[in-house]
Structures are given as C-alpha cells and as structure tokens.
Symmetry: C2
Subunit: 272 residues, 2 copies
C-alpha cells in the first residue's frame, strides 16, 4: 500500500507537471449518444476519460451524487470507476458527508474500506465528533469544506462572528487542530481567490482542493499566486470543462486535450 | 399520490397517538446472529422491525450511512427497505447531503425520483443554492440541519455572530424564507431542549425532526413541553433504543415493545 501523504502528492505533482484533479461528474443525461446503448454507459464513459487524462492529472474526484441518482446501477458504476483509477492517482470521493460519530464512521467505512478511496470530502456543520471518525483512518485524507465556490457560500460561511472572524475561518482554525497536514485538506473555491491570502494565513501548510476552475469561472493563475505553498499545496479540480469537452464520439480525446491545456498552464506556473 | 404535507402529518399523529419516527440505523455488525445466514440480513431485519413498529409510529428514518458502508449490496437493502415501508408513513432519507446546485439536484433525484422517499435531511453549510434544488420538489420535505444532538454542535452551530445571534439561528432565520412550512422541516437535537424556546421563536410553525431521544439521552417530556406547536410539529426519532432492544431472535417483538412504550408516553402528552 502506498501512503499517499503530502510528500507523495508533492512528488507526483512535480513528476507530472500538473496539480490537476479531474472531476468525474458523469451526468448520464450528458453522455455522448454513442454510449447510450452500452451496458454501463457511465463506467464506459469514465474509463475512456481516465485513459485519456491520466497522464495530465494527479487526482480524480468522483462526485457521488451523479452515481446515487441512478440507484443500485449507479453505485455499481461508481465502484467500477474507483477500481479502475490507477494507483498512481489520488482517488477522492466527493461525497460531502458528515453526521454524528457512529454514523460518520459508517461513511468512512463506505469510502475507505468497502471502496478503496484515498480521500473523502466532508461537511463541517456538525463539528469535531462528526469528522473525527474519518480521521481515525490516518493514512487517508479527510477534505473539509472551508469556503466553497458557489453563490450560497455567502449565506453562512462568510458570516461574521463576534470575534471578528468569519464562520469559515473558524472552521479552518478549529479543525486544523484535529489532525495532521498529511490527513486534512480543505475545499476552497477558485471563484474566490481574493480570500486565499486570508486562508493561507490560517492554514499555510495544508493542501487545498480547489473546485470552480472552468465551468464555474475561477482563475487558475490567481489561485496559484495566492494559494500555492512550498509543497504546491493545491489540487485544482475541473469537471464539466474537461469531461464534456465534446458530446461526440471523440469525447475521450477532447477531454484529454482540455486536460493537457490545463496541465500546460500548470507546468508553466510550476516553472517548467 | 398522497400529498404528505403538514396537515397530513398532523392527522397521522392524531390518528396514531404518536409522533414517533423509527430510525433504521441497521448496523449489520449488530444484527441478531439468527439473521447472519440470510440472503439479505439488513432487509430481513428491517422488514421485521417495520412489521412490529408500524402501528406505533408515523415515520421511518433511513440512515444512509449504514447501507453505503456495505457498497452495492447495501444500496440494494436500502432500496428494498424504502419500498417496503407502507405509504401510511413518512419515509425520511437521513442522508445529510448538500453541494453546489447541479450536484444537489442529483441528490434530490436519487432520493425523490429513483427512490420514493418523502423527505431528505440536508446540511446547510453551502447555503441557499445548495438546498434550493431539493425544494423544487414541492411535494417533498427538505429537512435542514438546525441544531444537532451531538457534542460537536457547539463547534460551529452555536458560534455567536456579530449580530448577537448564533450560527444555527441564522440558518433557521434565513432558510425558512426558502420554502413553505409544508416542505421545510428542521433537525433539532433532543439533547438540547433548553434551546427549543429560542428555536420556536424563530420557526413557530415548522415541523421539527428531533433525534437523540434514547441512546443519546434526550428527554421526551421536555421536548414536547418546549417544542410542540398547534400541529404538534414534532417527529421524535429513536433508532438504536428501538431496533437493538434485543439481539436475540425476538428482536422484532422487543422493538415493537420499545416503540409501544414511546407511543404511550407520546399519547399521554397528546392528551389521550
């Protein structure tokens, strides 16, 4: 078993010249018509996406919602996809789970034992004991929602507290004490690079999973400028912009090209 | 299709003499040995629990974690269980989902279209657009985490904001504007009845889903005293205290007895 800690991630980023994470938000209604007759269109699609993008990225993020929406069949596609991702890559279950302790432990089992994921995203609203069970898996990553990329992040995450911080800052400051920088990452949206300085002041050493580049409009250069650290410390995710680059038979190739473009931008930022 | 709105719920509570919700946190490692050889032990267990408790309760809450932890098999048990619950009862998927809009929509599809649930629990951290897709299903219930029953609720939920309210109070006050009292409920832990007065000041008319009676130590009388409204407005959940009342072959009967005891307490409170 490889321990995919922050050193491993840093090394993989430098070897690949990329800190790209490809998001498999494989909405069945958006798959190419050519796949619709296949036995398992979602897995067939993902397989070709993975084959074409693996050398340009260091991680895959599987958005569980797009699989759950298909019921048992979807869960089968999810399982097959996760098992297909090469072990050279970080496998992230983007599940945003979180519940009381005995329940969170079951979610941890679901993604870390039953499925061989390396990481899971979790929601912090229920506090420490809702996240602690994930952290008992010390060789896995728990990725806590910090400041998300969507409009609604302003509803509660950026609320000002009595001590002049924002709720998401309290989340970062408290939760960073719950585990090491080799097991905790944070979700920070690329649509808010202006916050990255404040965030790095609180968590200078953590890896950040940054969604929102591409379809959601985030800016890669700004993210790198304000968000990178000595270990790079960034996994920048793109989902729809890559996987739905073409709705035709050439979707795999088109996805590969989009991933390559992002990788080249990243390589430049990395000084290659 | 019955519209299971607040009036329907109120009527069912008065007919049944109970506002009990039975939580199917059916941890496979805790099932009676007698079931371990069965083809689908989790479903077999749930079926017998449902058969023995249905006349004492008005809702079932399925904790998705305990099914996901078993992978595809677990998702099958989940599906069979949900399809087995009689339509006289409210079916709650306790899933605590929530993500950006296009993703939350997939979660809504998973539980409202692919599965015939009447309600789902959602986490509010990501704000309005993460919850709005659930609310587009106007004949379904979206149950938002307010103040949860666990220790960690003090980490962020009760943080004081600049305007002298607490984060969970902001969640209640904002989110109640997003839909009607026939489609939004709130999770409020029974372990904190002292907060129920403050909560009812903000949301007098909403139904509350109240976990934490039983294994977590909440007090039913206090919950009713401070939390009930003119439509009763409460679904009190008990999971482990009922379903694991006996670890022997008589587990169904034992669960029925525990549910009956709670129903009797509830009937007294309802003035029967």
């Amino acid at each position: 078993m490889i321990r995919k800690d922050s050193q491993w991630l840093h090394q993989r980023i430098m070897e690949t010249g990329s800190f790209l994470c490809v998001g498999l938000d494989s909405d069945i209604s958006r798959l190419p018509v050519s796949l619709q007759g296949s036995d398992d269109p979602v897995f067939t699609f993902n397989k070709e996406i993975i084959d074409n993008t693996a050398k340009h990225c260091v991680a895959y993020k599987i958005n569980t919602a797009f699989y759950e929406s298909l019921g048992v069949k979807g869960w089968l596609s999810l399982e097959k996809t996760i098992n297909y991702i090469p072990n050279t890559h970080l496998i992230i279950a983007d599940a945003k789970r979180g519940d009381i302790g005995n329940t969170s432990l079951q979610y941890a089992k679901a993604f870390f034992d039953t499925l061989p994921c390396d990481a899971i995203t979790v929601a912090p609203y229920m506090g420490e004991d809702s996240i602690a069970p994930f952290l008992t898996y010390q060789d896995k990553w728990t990725i806590i929602l910090g400041l998300t990329s969507n409009q609604g992040s302003k509803d509660f995450q950026t609320l000002e507290t009595k001590t002049n911080s924002k709720v998401y800052e309290e989340v970062l400051a408290k939760s960073k004490e719950w585990g090491s920088t080799d097991q905790i990452m944070y979700v920070v949206g690329a649509t808010k690079p202006e916050y990255l300085g404040d965030i790095r002041a609180i968590i200078p050493d953590h890896f950040l999973l940054v969604p929102g580049v591409g379809a959601q409009g985030g800016d890669l250069d700004a993210v790198y400028k304000y968000g990178s650290n000595s270990k790079i410390g960034l996994l920048v995710n793109s989902s729809r912009g890559i996987i739905f680059a073409s709705s035709d038979r050439d979707f795999g190739k088109a996805a590969g090209q989009k991933a390559l473009i992002l990788k080249k931008q990243m390589s430049l930022l990395l000084g290659y």
